[in-house]
Symmetry: C2
């Protein structure tokens, strides 16, 4: 028999320290505001060097589980209910993850000079060209979401050469634009006649709306509105405690 004696091969020491402290916080044994043992105390308790406990504490601080204050010590932070991690999966991934077949359909694609309302929606001042796209995503041939998108061509000139007939613009952008930042706004509306027709639902049915605004550095990339039938779609946000 090899050397895996008991539980799994123990993780590294700093991870064990980190997990020990995390457990005491999670169970409430060390409530918010509680002062965690000083580094030199943990050094004594675990018989290791200060750098090792420092690494454990630094990671806990980066995860917002504790707060470190010079000369004072490290303290358990109070839970941040107001901050949760929202998973907004790529639509294709979301549908295939459910074991359903993904379908995509371009409704229209238009290249045009940015109108005033385009500029407002993209948050840019200068005139320029944009691509306006409407398309539909479906699962097992049932409409799943309708997408309404604007791409700023001055930020993504390559987009002019893509026709978006086979590949959804979201996936195309993901593969052609480097790292981006994004902001999502979630709201609820009732389906108007156009949405009702495209999604094959009743006029007045509740819909979940995600408006996603994406940019890189100071440059706007794209603004997109996704409309989901309210009874078939939910967003799940999980609080991240480490």
């Amino acid at each position: 028999m090899s050397l895996a004696t008991d539980a799994a091969d123990k993780p590294t020491l700093y991870k064990r320290i980190r997990a020990d402290i995390e457990k005491r916080i999670l169970t409430g044994e060390w409530p918010p505001g509680h002062r965690i043992p000083f580094e030199h105390e943990l050094v004594a308790r675990y018989g290791c060097s200060r750098m090792t406990v420092n690494k454990a504490l630094s990671e806990l601080a980066q995860a917002d589980l504790i707060e470190r204050r010079r000369r004072a010590g490290s303290f358990v932070r109070r839970p941040q209910h107001q901050s949760a991690v929202l998973k907004i999966a790529d639509i294709r991934a979301e549908i295939t993850a459910l074991g359903r077949s993904y379908g995509y359909e371009l409704i229209h694609r238009k290249l045009r000079a940015a109108t005033a309302s385009d500029r407002e929606r993209l948050g840019v001042k200068k005139a320029g060209k944009v691509i306006a796209i409407a398309c539909r995503h479906s699962a097992d041939n049932v409409p799943f979401a309708v997408e309404d998108r604007l791409i700023d061509l001055s930020s993504v000139p390559e987009a002019a050469t893509a026709d978006f007939v086979r590949e959804p613009p979201g996936s195309w952008l993901l593969h052609h634009v480097p790292w981006t930042e994004a902001e999502h706004t979630i709201s609820a509306v009732v389906a108007d006649d156009r949405a009702a027709e495209v999604l094959d639902i009743a006029i007045g049915a509740p819909c979940l709306v995600i408006d996603r605004y994406t940019w890189r550095g100071p440059r706007t990339i794209t603004a997109v509105r996704l409309l989901y039938p309210g009874d078939s779609h939910r967003l799940v946000a999980r609080f991240k405690g480490g």
Copy 2:
């Protein structure tokens, strides 16, 4: 003069290394998949020890900006659009932050033995007592949200002694229960007659729903449903890039 040659007191070295790399990723100079210089190369470039560049790279890895692979190197990860930080503020804080006056009203509070549907909603198997609460939050005396909550008394026995007449249950729990985890589910519905009456909106108006399920370790704490008039409330989730 010491060795701080140019600009202001530069941040610490590892932070500068981290920022340098981050910038190249953000601008797209190093696209997803690109191999970041090896630690020993960065050591040479910055003239520091390996621990210093290791700390910079470890933090970038913890922030999911890069991926580290033994023997292979460190690589820029592709943007994780599917993960965003959702701010779900405390309702009182949210309203007062808008400069409006906060109002709270208890509609009913009932202590009872858990019914089958209570147990299902809380995700517990054993019978026990619960508190069921309905209340309303308002801004400048206009209904803002209606709250429907279940508290598991076997997890939070002290809740039996709180009347929730002045203090909303969310805020009470925040101050009486240690660290918790939570899961939020967001969906859209139309107002039924009861919701329409409490929120003073039309029947059939769109509403945003947040279902929050909170627990600590294995113990369920509370399940709450918040219903917001769809035209007056939005959730904002910002992509966290580090």
